[in-house]
Each structure stands twice: as structure tokens, then as C-alpha cells.
């Protein structure tokens, strides 16, 4: 795909599909790391403790809320697709996709604010 191809690929819905794909990939990469962390808890308190201390840094917190954003985006975006495919058609999908992004950002931002 070249820049030429991107010229009709910038509508809200195309971007929503792209965001859905990328957030899915990012979550697939994140999940093993998440389980690794949970595994630390099984191995004893010390490794988990040191991990938790590491995760207390601002940059890590920022990354965590970005992950939450991706998770929400993927979940609500997936719900939007399920509605399209399983219920009768409703217009306003662009608005729906924008709301999905907005609500996801709001939730991630709320959690970020609470972490500090």
C-alpha cells in the first residue's frame, strides 16, 4: 500500500477499522506480558513487589492508561460491529465510531487521573 492508496482511506469508519485492528494486535502483544506479571505473584511476593514498584513510575502509568484506552476501543468497537452484524441496520455509524473513541478516551483519562 502506498500513499496513493490512502487517499480515499481516511473516513471515520476506515480509521475505526484500522484502530480496531491495531488495538487488537497491541492487546495480543500485551496479554502474555500481563500473564507473566500474574505469574510473578505465584512465584512469591518479592518479584511481584519489585515489579509493582517499577510500575509506579509515571511513564509506566501513562503506558497503562494507553493500554486501557486500547482495550476500551477494542471492546466498544467490537460491540458496534456486533450490533451492525446481528441487529437490523442503523445509520449514524460514523457518529457511533466517534462516540466509541470518545468514551474510551474518557475512561482511560479518568483512570489515569485516579492513578496520580
Amino acid at each position: 500500500m502506498t500513499l496513493r492508496h490512502l487517499r480515499h482511506r481516511h473516513s471515520a469508519l476506515w480509521l475505526a477499522a484500522l484502530a480496531h485492528r491495531l488495538s487488537g494486535l497491541a492487546l495480543a502483544v500485551f496479554l502474555p506480558l500481563h500473564f507473566l506479571t500474574l505469574g510473578l505473584a505465584i512465584r512469591g511476593e518479592a518479584p511481584l513487589e519489585s515489579f509493582l514498584r517499577w510500575s509506579d513510575q509515571p511513564l509506566v502509568k501513562l503506558a497503562e492508561s494507553a493500554l486501557i484506552f486500547l482495550l476500551m476501543l477494542h471492546m466498544f468497537g467490537g460491540l458496534r460491529l456486533l450490533v451492525i452484524e446481528n441487529l437490523s441496520w442503523r445509520d449514524g455509524q460514523k457518529q457511533a465510531a466517534t462516540i466509541v473513541a470518545g468514551v474510551s478516551a474518557a475512561i482511560a483519562f479518568f483512570l489515569l487521573a485516579r492513578m496520580f
Partner: protein, 232 residues
Amino acid sequence: MSLWRGGEKGRYETYKVPLRENQTVLDVVTFVQRHLDPTLSYRFACRVGMCGSCAMTVNGRPRWTCRTHVSRVATRGQLEIGPLENLPVIKDLTTDMRPFFEKWQQAKGAFVPSQTRGDEIERIRPDSPARIAADAAIECINCAICYAACDTVRWNSDYLGPAALNRAWTLVNDVRDGATSERLQAVAASGGCHACHSHQSCQELCPQQLNPTASIAGLKRRTMWAYLKGEI
């Protein structure tokens, strides 16, 4: 303006054409062929948005060129016109539409009568839900703009594509048709309706303002129920 010349491995070549009030993209392509280079190949027939043969990629976006005004799409007096994407290029602006139409056949896009000419003409209420669904999708002009715009077609050469599936949906809703279960089987197979990602690029760019995404979603539901009921 620059026009794609040659086959699959061609290149864009530049031409100067007069800027006139009220001209379509098809008009300027025709100007090049009539006045600058008679070897230019392109397709058109009706020039009024009915036959679906004039679709090309105009400034990166698939469009029906006979109904697209230059003034609406030219950027800084420039146009770049190429053949439709997702189809093999024959020469210049003409693509080989065979894969597109073969997929209509694969999706069982031909009407299969369930009665004979000796039977009474069937009465169909225009306000019945099935007819409303069929009517909403029926005005396709086979221009392949949706097919050229669809990323799933690009990724998966077996995918039947928005237009063929949209056609299948109109027939599934046609009570006179006698091949519903074969058709549902055909569109539920690999490369059928379930391959669609509901991107809606097809709906966004269809010049007839049809909504193939909605038709395909309808097929997804219909095939799922037919499968659960053991009909396919």
C-alpha cells in the same frame, strides 16, 4: 492531468487539456483520446450514470467518471486518472472485469424462476419487508467502484466482494426466486459474506448510494439462522 498508460506495469503520463466550465472527468479523458492520443483506451457507454462502465480511479478514489465534475475533484487544476484497483489492468484505463462478474455468478446472482410463464403473475406487495429490503439494494449498476474500494477484496482474492453479495441479498429477498438455499450456501462459503469486515468503504463510495455493508450483514444473519436450522 496525468493518465495511466500501459498495462499492469505502466506509468502515469501528463497531458494538458483545456479547463472548461461544466465538464466531467469522462469529458476530459475523451478529449485526450480525440485530440491528443487516439491510442488511449478507456470504457464508457451511457454517459448518464446508468451503465456502470466508466468507473476509474480519480485522484486516488474510485468514481463514476461520467457523473463526476472536474471542478469538484481537481486539486489545483490537476487530475490523476488511473484504472480501477483490485482488477487486472488490460491497458490504460480499462480493467479486466471478468473476476468481478465471475463472482456475481459464484454468489448465484442470477434469478432462478420458481414458476413458469403459464402461471399467474405473482402479486408482491411493495410494502412487504422482503420487498423493501430488496428494493433498497436493487439499483446497482455493476460499476465495481465498491469492489475497487474494498480492502477485503484487496487482501483476499477469493472474497466475492460487496456488489455480488449485495446482488445475492436482493434475490434472497425476492419471493419469486427458487434458489434461496443454494444461494445462501454459496454466500456462506469461504470468501463469502462472513469474510466482510464491515468497513463500509463500499457504502461510502457507491455512486448509487447503496449500502452493501447492510446487505452483507443481512446475509450474515440469514446464513447463520439457516445453518442453525439445518437448512444449509
